[in-house]
Amino acid sequence: MIQRCFSALVLSFAMLASFKTFAQNPLFKLLTSAKTGISFRNDINETENLNVLAYEYFYNGGGVAVGDINNDGWEDLFFTANMGENKLYLNLGNMQFKDITKAAHPLLAGKPGSWKTGVTMADVNGDGLLDIYICYSGKLSDDLRRNQLFINKGNLQFEEKAAEYGLDAINYSTQASFFDYDNDGDLDMFLLNHSTKKIDNMELAKYRTEADTLAGDRLYRNNNNKFEDVSAKAGINQFPSTFGLGIAISDINLDGWQDIYVTNDYNEQDYIYINNKNGTFTEKSKDYLRHLSHFSMGVDIADFNNDGYPDIYTLDMLPEDNRRQKLLQLQENYEAFSLMQSQDLHKQYMRNMLHLNNGDGSFSEIAQLAGVSNTDWSWCPLFADFDDDGYKDLFITNGYFRDYTNKDFLRYWGDFKIKKAMDRQPVLLMDLIKAMPVTYLSNYIYKNNGDLSFTNKKTDWGITQMGHSNGAVYADLDKDGDLDLVANNLNGEALIYENTRTNANAITFSVKYTGKNSFGVGTKLYVYTKKGLQYQEVNPNRGYLSATSLNLHFGLGANDKIDSVVVIWPNNQKRTLKDFEPNKPYLIEYNPSLTTPSITAALKPGIFEKKNPLILYPHEDFIENDFKRQALMLFMYSKVGPVLAKGDVNKDGLEDLFISGDKNRVGTIYQQTPGGGFRMRDDLNLGDENVSITSAAAFADVNGDGFQDIYIAKGGYSVVEPGTPNLQDELYINDGKGGFTLGKLPIMQESSKSCVVPGDYDGDGDIDFFVGGRVIPGQYPRVPRSYLLNNDGKGNFTIVDAAFNNIGMITNAKWFDFNKDGKLDLVLSGEYLPITVFINTGKGFDNKTQDYFKDQPKGFWFNFEIADLDKDGEVEIIAGNLGNNSQIKASDKEPAEMYYGDFDNNGSVDPILNFYIQGVSYPYVSRDELNDQIFPMRRKFSSYKNYADATIHSMFTDAELKAANKWEITSTQSTLFKKIEGKYTAVPLPMQAQFSIITEIVVDDFDKDGNKDILLLGNKTDNRLKIGAIDANYGCLLKGDGKSGFSYVPQIVSGLSIRGDVKSVIQINVKGNQYWVVAVADHPIQFYQVK
């Protein structure tokens, strides 16, 4: 009864809430220029001589700077126009502005005939007044490109003093940032520039040995208002291949010194310049990040998950909808990709990247999980708390005037040119330019859900204006306590959005620091509330071509209270303040007598400690590309090693290890010595990877002689053929004297295997095997054969028919007495299968999954583990899936569907994966890939446009689809299956468990609190390029509460930072110490200990 009432209450509350949402106006209200007085437009005029083909950054737009130029408490605005006149608007209050450009300085509007780009407001000369720095670019004369510095005279008038200050650079400038890199108390300048040279070939390593004085970025040191170019000695790259589009300054590693993030368009990667505290920087993008945006544009650095660590977000060009994904070019060229890798460039993919700071020098890239990876051709990202709920939301401008990556345009515009030539009409450049389609987009705004994910709120929050927006800022323009938005539009009026939120509290801080940095650039604020921590840095240098407010705004929700605010000043002195009232602006002034040194707490030792390796094995895999064999797969299946197995081969009571081979060595036994070391048995050859590929191994005494024999299963994909000896598993018999001889196995070469599981399933006292089939090389996703091998007691095996032999693509299996009848049942995981249970009837095996599982999500299921996590006598199952951090989405309601068959009757399998994008299921395959796989499709879809909206039902007839086979995925989440009311029910694991593919699962009480914890390892790098490396897992430790509840343990607490694709993990006892041996593809074998 009580429950019913409660649910009724909840229901009515929900109705009320939804009613309220409907009744309410959107959060943001677009103000007219009539209201604001801001009629600024960035109009560009395309001509035969001035156009995007003459200057490729023609549509990159202008910037906005916000700041209080007259210190009256109202934030003023400056807009740059590429070709037209810049505008300086004085804030008169009440959202009304006055154009004072001409009066402030005749040249503030920009040099006539020039090309203006970014703008910054900063107190360059340290007199307490904000100055304005304007960047210039364009293929014009040097003088027209000379950047300008307008020094604020304090009377709403400015003086142009760039030359005097040494800042009249003639580079192709994008944006300048003023900050104190050497902690000497004044503001220095980083100038972000871009190349204008066409670089068609990819001899990038050679370009990286050159310096380009106009394209390379510059760092200037402020020597008493004379700026000195220190780029070279500070270690700033000067390459002609740098196309700088975005810059953000932040103390990324929180060491008290400002770091620099620079984005680069095209093939040159982004740079993270980490401050060496001695005037120099080291570029650490490869060390910090696992992969990057490819055509990076704007960038923001902010702590979006309120853990006190700054996170990094970069923008790229991947569209959200299926249609534009299919119409526009995606980069999927394996040769170009590997060419870049071979020249020491980082992995780069075309989508936005959200790098979550793990606090230990590593970042997990989770833009796809967070839901902010696809925002089309995007420019300016800004994290700020727009709804004042205590979590920073995300605003993104986007739009590119002409879709010149349209594939029909690429492929078929040539026809138009020939037709013109045949009609003997001249072909003008403008014909070409005007042939490029124009698409208007709306900007994106996302609400931060507080759980690492975001929700698109374009419509609810009123960000729906169509256009092309570039630079943008947020600021509380009307001083009503919330953040308004301003964006610079190409060929349109600037957007001024007034924030109308009413039902939350917020607090705004400005700081007053000392000396020549009175605005306190670089100051850190930690706001502690009942709900937790919020962190921000005074750093206006972020976004795109723009400078945001110097004020720091913190949302407090409806009733959160501030406990204290910790300020860390640029000199790393700290002050703690209390007693703040919400909805009031506060000025925090520096007072040296009220500060104490801020000491960065030394990292506490983690739960795990990486030990010196007891075995030196730098694993090095072969380079293979499975997609050359079957172009339409999602993942590669070739890389399966290193494989680990443990056993005691010489009965000395010490655990020995089997490790499979690699490019440089054969698989062999590493025999533990009494001294606690391992001796590699170089007298053995238990598998040469040049001949066949070891995919699984298990020790077992198959002939009952008391010595451990070893079964080695064979797998691989690209170079092996089904039905050949390369896929024949091997059984090595221990001769008791340290030798191994090849034993006999039946012929079993039909599939590439994933697992070998010993168990006495028939209870006759000997060890039998289940061997799982993973894939048929060349025939993905047809069902590979799995094998049940029966032992005659002497180590002779026969293949036994069983119900699970042809069930699907098996990834792992375990023998386990599920129904407690004394007989071993078989539990299986597999790609496109649910976790499946075969009950051993004594006569055979019956699939009883239905009986045991309430939820049977079909997943990619790379692995699983069985354990009793809550000591209730019933086991739980933990299953590792794809995770939620990829383009592939699937649920019960919107399953991913894999149709496969030989649609064109040419003897090859055509796998067509479909999944839902914005409510409709579309094929993932591009038109080019499809045409290469099924030639008749070339006739069916005669253009990219024709294919852009195609679904599986427009590709194939109902009869064809009926004849085809189909797999499904209904969940990509790694999941805990717990018995509730007698049946296993799916319980999702925490968000952090969904960051990546989980391939290894370990259950143990790692933190020794008496409760079982779960360690999830994984990652997978060798995927389709349009999926990219899935690599955000560094060892995800989930702390158990003893009741099957699990919470994520941050990497700095777990002490784990395991990079790369984990293939095997095993626990081994060495001289009484338990080690976790972790085998990662293309990495050395690693050893960890729990403290």
Binding site: N201, M202, E335, Y412, F935
Partner: protein
């Protein structure tokens, strides 16, 4: 100039001159319609030769049925279909049927074959006004459609549709091997083309060329010398060399880039160029219908075998292109005059197919047959005069060195390879 006029007429559907004579569409015009569709579809050069051979096969069969001085397919080809002409009550006009069959075969075979429907409709319209007996026309169309269908059925067994079941090209480690080239780094074109059924040749390997000059980075080696020759020819390039290279570029899809923009510029592929030359020769001697069909089919079939033979060698020797070698070892900023085609270097495809075609054309029209080649005018390339087919082939071959996309030995061996194939075809025709 003439090509331009023909196209204009074709798009109007009726040739005023032809109207008087009866059949309102010539073999050349029908073939050009096919060429245009292939240009739209960006059909790669080997695949284009395959489409030509099938499009003209039915037409040639009709000629051999009518005119016993031309060898029937069964005697001519090593691999051949058994085609038969539909038994009809009415008479058919084999010229109308043959021309119609060219268009119909193209319609059925080409990716954008549907776009030939317009040309076919225009042809049908013109036939109505041609003064020909409409019953005869109707029957001719039936015969053509039936024959085109037979050709298409036979084409299905040639290995083409199996290509997608085979492994794609995976770059081989080593500086001597081909790697995709700037600016688009396109994947290798047709790495398994050797598996396509030949017409004259007994196999792709029948005229295997000599192995290429051994690779070496030693600056005194023969290979390095060859690379240097290519490099130095561009420093500076003479106007004559540049004109020759451009004239024979025949790149069906050269990609121009500007920032994120990529744009494909189209031209007729090398095979099309030789089909056009065939048409020019027929026009010059005012060849009758039978000879015109014969010449076109022979050149098409020769092109097909020449491409198969050449592509067999390309993916055997798998040699690095000058562009890759030069930017790595001589000058990182070098760019060839022509865009490097996306497949291995040895032997030069244009050399093989030009020499083979020239042998066959010389047999048909005689040596020292001078002609003006104006078939590239629509690409703003002025006409060039040649004193013989072999001279034209020689220029086409050497143009690849000027263009910076081939070494000299690939041209020399390619010419040799093509010549042997051409001579073999001539023996098959004449014996």
């Amino acid at each position: 100039m003439r090509v331009l006029v023909i196209i204009a007429l074709l798009s109007m559907g009726v040739s005023a001159e032809a109207q008087k004579k009866g059949n309102p569409l010539t073999v050349q015009q029908a073939t050009l319609a096919i060429s245009k569709v292939m240009m739209h579809d960006v059909v790669n050069p080997p695949a284009a030769s395959r489409f030509y051979s099938y499009s003209l096969m039915g037409a040639y069969h009709l000629v051999t049925v009518k005119n016993k001085s031309y060898k029937p397919l069964e005697q001519l080809l090593t691999n051949r279909p058994t085609l038969s002409v539909l038994a009809t009550k009415q008479k058919y006009d084999y010229e109308v049927a043959a021309v119609y069959c060219i268009l119909e075969s193209g319609r059925l075979l080409l990716p954008s074959g549907f776009s030939l429907e317009e040309d076919i409709a225009a042809y049908e319209q013109a036939l109505k006004k041609s003064g020909l007996n409409q019953e005869t026309v109707k029957t001719s169309i039936e015969v053509a459609k039936d024959l085109a269908k037979q050709v298409v059925v036979w084409s299905r067994g040639d290995g083409y549709f199996k290509l997608s079941t085979l492994r794609r090209y995976t770059p081989v480690k080593g500086d001597q091997y081909w790697y995709p080239t700037p600016p688009a780094y396109m994947e290798a074109v047709e790495p398994n083309w050797r598996t396509i059924r030949t017409l004259f040749l007994d196999s792709a390997q029948q005229y295997k060329p000599v192995p290429p000059t051994p690779f070496s980075k030693d600056t005194t080696s023969k290979f390095f010398e060859m690379a240097k020759e290519v490099y130095q020819l561009t420093k500076p390039m003479t106007e004559e060399h540049a004109a020759i290279a451009a004239f024979w570029d025949c790149n069906p899809f050269a990609i121009a880039t500007s920032g994120h923009m990529m744009l494909g510029f189209k031209k007729f592929s090398p095979g099309t160029h030789w089909i056009n030359i065939t048409g020019i020769a027929c026009n010059k001697v005012k060849a009758n219908f039978d000879k015109t069909v014969f010449a076109h089919f022979m050149v098409a079939a020769t092109l097909r075998d020449a491409f198969i033979s050449c592509w067999d060698e390309k993916y055997r020797s798998n040699r690095v292109r000058p562009e890759t070698f030069i930017i790595k070892n001589i000058d990182p900023k070098w760019e060839p005059l022509l865009q490097t085609p996306p497949f291995p270097e040895y032997t030069s495809g244009h050399s093989v197919i030009s020499s083979a075609s020239a042998e066959v054309l010389t047999y048909i029209f005689g040596d020292n047959f001078s002609f003006t080649d104006d078939s590239e005018m629509m690409f703003e390339l002025p006409a060039r005069n040649f004193k013989s087919f072999r001279a034209a082939a020689q220029e086409a071959s050497v143009s690849r060195i000027y263009g910076g996309i081939h070494y000299r030995d690939a041209v020399d061996a390619g010419v040799e390879q093509g010549k042997k194939i051409g001579e073999y075809v001539v023996r098959r025709i004449s014996n």
